[in-house]
């Protein structure tokens, strides 16, 4: 077996497909993109060496159609498939089907994915392996009475979660016993739709929990290392929007202990390739195994920023059978990194997804600023796929400098044509508790008043002045265009000239 993959099919779209394609290009491996009819123009199609249409826009008929993807890989002469995150990335049966077709699945074995994918079974195995877990139901529960019993035993609040869950889908928090029924019903329905399994389980909802995860890398030769933690507690709708590393709570000793637990978790299921072990950390800095994400994580770039390690290139090398190029002692951390997720959504309207066509796009630049995106002017943002438009990642020498850099970069990131959460992210970065590092997964809910405060009087004045200035300009532009269309007599040319001069 060669120590390099021959040709990789990237079974994904958007920024993560772009991310993986770039790694292939840099590693000197030819790449194949797949695309649905909605994505013919997409950046990932343009950056790949080859591209294959795999069906209509709905994911079930394209990016989730495993058999089409495997067929495309075989037809193009690929020897491997990278699933990205989402879609088929945590589908153990797909991983097995890829292997059965004689291809390399760039990720863990299907067996390890199934072990971890069933959150109920994973909890049991981790408990047995000595990895600390949160209190909750012993297994899956499928009637309300049992849910009520467990909730009473471990005490409210509790979370009702999809056994096959991930990405914040199929999760409901219940603080009042009266809401258990409704929450059970919605979690089950969402789980059914997202994962084709309505199985749910109950877990203690920790008091002010922080969501801290550990990145691991495991090769085929039994080496498992961790790359430190990521703090992911800033969430809305149970989905992360800001992540950072290091976590202010984690000192060297705690990082070592969490790292060892994560490595133990990976070893327990015979893990291979990149993965992430998620923990909930309570106010007393106890950590509890939450779940393992058996795939590349959205927020992996912050780890790359502080360690200097290219996780996707490591994935490609591990999949080719190479041993890890570095040991645990070679992993060092430099500075502080933050990621902000730029989403097409309307924070003022319950963060509901927004749609549109990107009219103008300005990406930030400069030192230690990284943009991972599949964005371009003219791109249609529609309802078929995830609302994540781009990830903005900064690194600096310390947390305060990283926050300042992130604010600077967010202010340069201008998107028109679709509503985004950029302004909201900027507001988060100004909240005192965030600056102090004092936050948990309830942060956004708790700071609603500040986060949605109206602009200050000074800002309001500026906005009013600029609104009128722009309205005035747009009127000028309209009349100019009307004149151009109409031809216009000599006397009316002056307005055109006046406008044209400024448009120079």
């Amino acid at each position: 077996m060669s120590d390099k993959l021959k040709k990789v099919l990237v079974a994904n779209r958007g920024e993560i497909a772009v991310r993986v394609l770039r790694a292939c290009r840099e590693e000197g491996i030819p790449s194949v993109a797949v695309f649905s009819d909605a994505d013919r123009n997409a950046l990932h199609v343009r950056l790949a060496d080859e591209a294959v249409n795999i069906g209509p826009p709905p994911a079930a008929q394209s990016y989730l159609a495993g058999e089409k993807i495997i067929a495309a890989a075989l037809r193009c002469g690929c020897d491997s498939i990278h699933p990205g995150y989402g879609f088929l990335s945590e589908n153990g049966d797909f991983a097995d089907a890829v292997a059965a077709a004689g291809l390399i699945f760039i990720g863990p074995p299907g067996r390890a994915m199934r072990e971890m994918g069933d959150k109920v079974r994973a909890r049991a195995r981790m408990r047995a392996a000595g990895v600390p877990i949160a209190p909750g139901s012993e297994g899956a529960v499928d009637d309300l009475a049992e849910i009520r019993r467990v909730a009473a035993e471990i005490g409210l609040p509790v979370m009702i979660k999809a056994a096959a869950g991930g990405g914040g889908k199929g999760i409901r928090v219940v603080r009042d016993a009266a809401d258990l029924g409704k929450a059970f019903e919605m979690a089950r329905s969402e789980a059914e739709k997202a994962f084709k399994s309505g199985a749910v389980y109950v877990e203690k909802f920790l008091d002010k929990p922080r969501h801290v995860e550990i990145q691991v890398l495991a090769d085929r030769h039994g080496h498992v290392i961790h790359l430190g933690e990521r703090e992911c507690s800033i969430q809305r709708r149970h989905q992360k929007i800001i992540e950072e590393t290091p976590c202010v709570l984690v000192d060297e000793d705690m990082r070592r202990r969490m790292g060892e637990a994560a490595v133990q978790a990976a070893r327990e299921v015979g893990y291979e390739n990149a993965g992430t072990v998620e923990f909930l950390v309570d106010a007393r800095r106890n950590f509890h195994f939450l779940e393992m994400n058996t795939r590349l994580q959205v927020e992996h770039p912050i780890t790359e920023s502080v360690t200097g390690i290219d996780i996707v290139r490591e994935q490609l090398r591990i999949a080719a059978g190479r041993p890890l190029s570095l040991g645990q002692d070679d992993v060092t951390f430099r500075g502080h990194a933050i990621e902000a997720r730029i989403c097409a959504e309307d924070p003022d309207n319950a963060f509901l997804p927004a749609v549109g066509v990107i009219k103008n796009l300005d990406l930030p630049g400069g030192g230690s600023v990284r943009v991972d995106a599949g964005l371009y002017e003219g791109m249609k943002v529609d309802v078929y796929y995830d609302s994540l438009l781009a990830k903005l990642v900064v690194r600096a020498n310390d947390r305060a400098e990283a926050i300042a850099r992130m604010k600077r970069a967010l202010a340069e990131f201008q998107v028109t044509g679709v509503k985004t959460n950029i302004g909201f992210l900027l507001r988060v970065l100004e909240i005192g508790d965030f600056l102090a590092g004092e936050y948990d997964t309830g942060f956004i809910e708790r700071h609603r008043a500040e986060l949605f405060a109206p602009p200050s009087d000074g800002a309001e004045r500026d906005v009013a002045l600029l609104a009128v200035t722009l309205a005035h300009e747009l009127r000028r532009l309209r009349s100019l265009r009307a004149e151009r269309r109409g031809g216009g007599a000599g006397g009316e040319m002056s307005a055109w000239r006046r406008a044209g001069r400024r448009e120079d």
Binding site: A350, L466, R502
Partner: protein, 176 residues
Amino acid sequence: MRYFVRIGGKELEVDARERGRGLEVRLGDRVHAVDTAVVEAGLKYSVLVDGRSFAVSVDGDGRKLALIINGRAYQVEVEDERERAGRAIGSGGSSGGGVVESVMPGIVRRVEVEPGSRVKAGDRLLILEAMKMENEICAEMDGVVEKVHVADGQTVEGGAPLVTLKAPAEAGPAAA
């Protein structure tokens, strides 16, 4: 030209007149010198207000504008005096009735009210699925459902009316 700008709940009156290559803009008792340069017509501008620099992107071309100013988005409504005068003559006093519109395209998963239902602000009206998430669409005010415009399973466009609510005052005495 006199303009009326609505930001959040407030309305401000602003006067703008061309002066040399720029604008002279009056707001309250202060007058500002504004110099505007077109980066991309209709989309991107560089505006200097008394020498302070603003990078402004704009979306929209009617009364409602979305401005992005140094990364922050603002929804504003701007009307000039002629438009306001025209509107005052045109339409009398329009309803103000509460039509809940779909803020995005999606699929209606479950309508949970029917005409006549009495709802409180925050009560769920229906569930709309978009981008793989179930989104609860809730009432923004107390009222009574006057009309339900959609049915379960229906695909809707952004801006489509979903439910019409009447304020309790409009709804007459409590039904039951």
